[in-house]
């Protein structure tokens, strides 16, 4: 079973995020990492490959330096990678991204596409389902378990009360949540080997993308204005002298919260 894993490079949460005040676009020159959720997607793909054979292909859209995130997926064990990068793609919103990714996936051999449930910077969580829609295959999102049996998958989709199990033939697009597995750390051998693995870079022309549908111009949403809200201020802070609980209850009552 061949699996395409879609990965994204995101700004490290610890890094101070800066927005370009002209475009309200994120300054991506600061420290960047592989999207934490995508580590679960890569791990799940590797587990399926180890049990059932096939290849794992990492597919990434981003600036040239997103290669670092892709290298991590390769170091974990992915066999090859495709990076979609082009200045024309900069500023693409979620739907524009889904269009470019879906076109890139049409050039890759896969039975399953696996995404992390969302990115920790854009946080939209809509790209996987939009890609599935564009590819015309079933979407199964927020999965806590994936089992493969021949060309059929059985999955658990997390709900607030428990889960729903589905059975679905491939091809399909999946998104996985934290906790589905324990992502492996790349070994030294894996890191060294990643440098020799095939990594293909494709631009908009190579994918035959309609550039009117990508980038900030082609995106159907735009930022009108942005602001940094006043940071929350510290309120009352007291030392517990044995009446802490009572003081909390009084505060809650004064705010009409109990």
């Amino acid at each position: 079973m061949n699996i395409a894993v879609c990965v994204k490079q995101v700004v490290d949460t610890e890094a101070v995020k800066k927005l370009d005040p002209a475009s309200w676009r994120l300054d991506r020159s600061v420290a960047a990492v592989l999207n934490p959720y995508d580590e679960y997607a890569v791990e799940e793909a590797l587990k399926i490959k180890e049990a059932h054979g096939g290849e794992v292909i990492a597919v990434c859209m981003g600036p040239k330096k997103a290669e670092d995130a892709v290298r991590k997926a390769l170091a974990m064990g992915a066999d090859s990678a495709v990076i979609v990068t082009d200045d024309a793609l900069a500023g693409s919103d979620a739907q524009a991204t889904s269009y470019a990714l879906a076109e890139a996936l049409k050039g890759v051999q896969w039975d399953l596409v696996i995404f992390g449930v969302r990115s920790t910077d854009g946080e939209t969580g809509v790209v996987p389902a939009a890609v599935a829609e564009r590819l015309g295959v079933p979407m199964l999102s927020t999965l806590a378990k994936v089992d493969v049996d021949g060309s059929t998958i059985k999955v658990h989709r997390e709900t607030e009360q428990g889960y729903i199990s589905y059975e679905c033939p491939t091809p399909a697009v999946l998104s996985v949540i934290k906790g589905i597995n324990e992502p492996r750390y790349p070994s030294m051998k894996g890191i060294m080997g990643a440098k020799k693995k095939p990594l293909e870079t494709k631009d908009a022309a190579a994918l035959g993308l309609d550039t009117a549908k990508v980038g900030s111009e082609g995106s159907k949403t735009r930022v009108v204005s942005g602001r940094i809200p006043e940071p929350r201020k510290a309120g009352t802070k007291i030392e517990d002298d044995g009446t802490g609980a009572q003081k909390i209850a009084e505060f809650l009552a004064s705010q009409k919260l109990v």
């Binding site: 934290k178 003081k247 505060f251």
Partner: protein, 326 residues
């Protein structure tokens, strides 16, 4: 000039009712006065849901009743939502900011090549178009966005807009929906409800969350007890989810849930940036922590420096006492 007008709310069925976020979306749509408010209901049994949509003031309700819609699947729900879009010709389509709602919104906006505004917390009409508010990076930046397409699609963050009844006798329109075969390929095997009666984190108006300061998985029961006394949902920090004390479903923060309750009580949680990202848009934050330097005190409305293992049980007693007295 487009002919589209009004707002279509794609309802989220939940335990035989309409999810709160659907009622909130109907209320907000009505308050904008931007044309008729329609609701599309997709379920195996729609009558009680249609009644609820009318109670909250829908002008028109589109109904897709089918056994295929008993349990959520992105394909058939997107097909039904698209049938309603075709019938209602709205200028804006609102979906729930939930896992299901995001899948439908993504599918509908991809089919329409429409702009998709995600996780909105504000919505107004400006110069004849819709402008949505969207907090990003855990609420540290707030942007106003608009779609350049008509219709536009948006997902609405739960628990942000008010919900108010405004009973109406809506026109009910039955939709004939032909489901796309590929969307029906996923078969439902089983629906497992292990935590019946649990208060939903994303929709809760009160959340009690615990962290490493609770000391052990056993002590975390105190958090659940306090939550149950307050009718609250239970939350947890990443640290204790990674320790295996509680299931990941409870995690609030960057790799967990984003919440905006009226009240968030954080016990034994330091308030690291990853946790703050998921809860700092809460209206009121109460913190209990042994460490006077804990980051959470920098943004808590009311903080108590002390041992959560002493204060939480005392607070449970205090709440019980007040309930008994009232």
């Amino acid at each position: 000039m487009s002919t589209q007008s009004g707002i279509l709310v794609v309802a989220e069925p939940k335990d035989g009712k309409l999810a709160n976020v659907t009622l909130e979306s109907i209320t907000q749509a009505r308050s904008l006065g931007a044309g008729p408010v329609s609701v599309v209901i997709i379920a195996a049994e729609t009558a009680p849901l249609v009644a609820a949509a009318g109670r909250y003031g829908a002008d028109r309700v589109y109904v897709c009743e089918s056994p295929e819609a008993a349990v959520f699947r992105a394909g058939p729900f997107t097909d039904a939502a698209m049938a309603a879009v075709k019938a209602a010709d709205p200028a804006l389509i609102l979906c729930a900011g939930s896992a299901d709602g995001r899948d439908v919104a993504a599918g509908v906006s991809a089919r329409l090549e429409a702009g998709l505004l995600v996780d909105i917390t504000g919505l107004e009409v400006k110069d004849g178009g819709f402008v949505a508010t969207h907090p990003c990076f855990g609420g540290t930046v707030i942007v106003e966005k608009e779609a350049t397409s008509s219709p536009a699609v948006a997902t609405v963050r739960p628990n942000v807009f008010a919900r108010e009844e405004a009973a109406k006798d809506p026109e009910v329109v039955t939709l004939e929906v032909e489901f796309t075969p590929s969307g029906l390929l996923a078969k439902i095997l089983e629906v497992v409800s292990e935590n019946l009666g649990i208060v939903s984190l994303e929709e809760a108006s009160v959340i009690v969350a615990g962290g490493r300061g609770m000391g052990s998985a056993d002590n975390f029961e105190l958090i659940k007890t306090l939550a149950s006394e307050l009718g609250a949902a239970v939350g947890a920090s990443r640290a204790i989810v990674d320790e295996g004390w509680v299931h990941h479903q409870y995690q609030v923060g960057q790799t967990g849930k984003t919440v905006s309750p009226q009240l968030y009580i954080a016990a034994g949680i330091s308030g690291a940036i990853q946790h703050a990202a998921g809860m700092q848009t809460s209206k009121c934050i109460v913190a209990i922590n042994k460490d006077p330097e804990a980051a959470i005190f920098n943004f808590a409305d009311f903080g108590v420096v002390g041992d959560a293992l002493v204060i939480v049980p005392a607070l449970i007693e205090e709440i019980r006492k007040r309930k008994a007295a009232s």
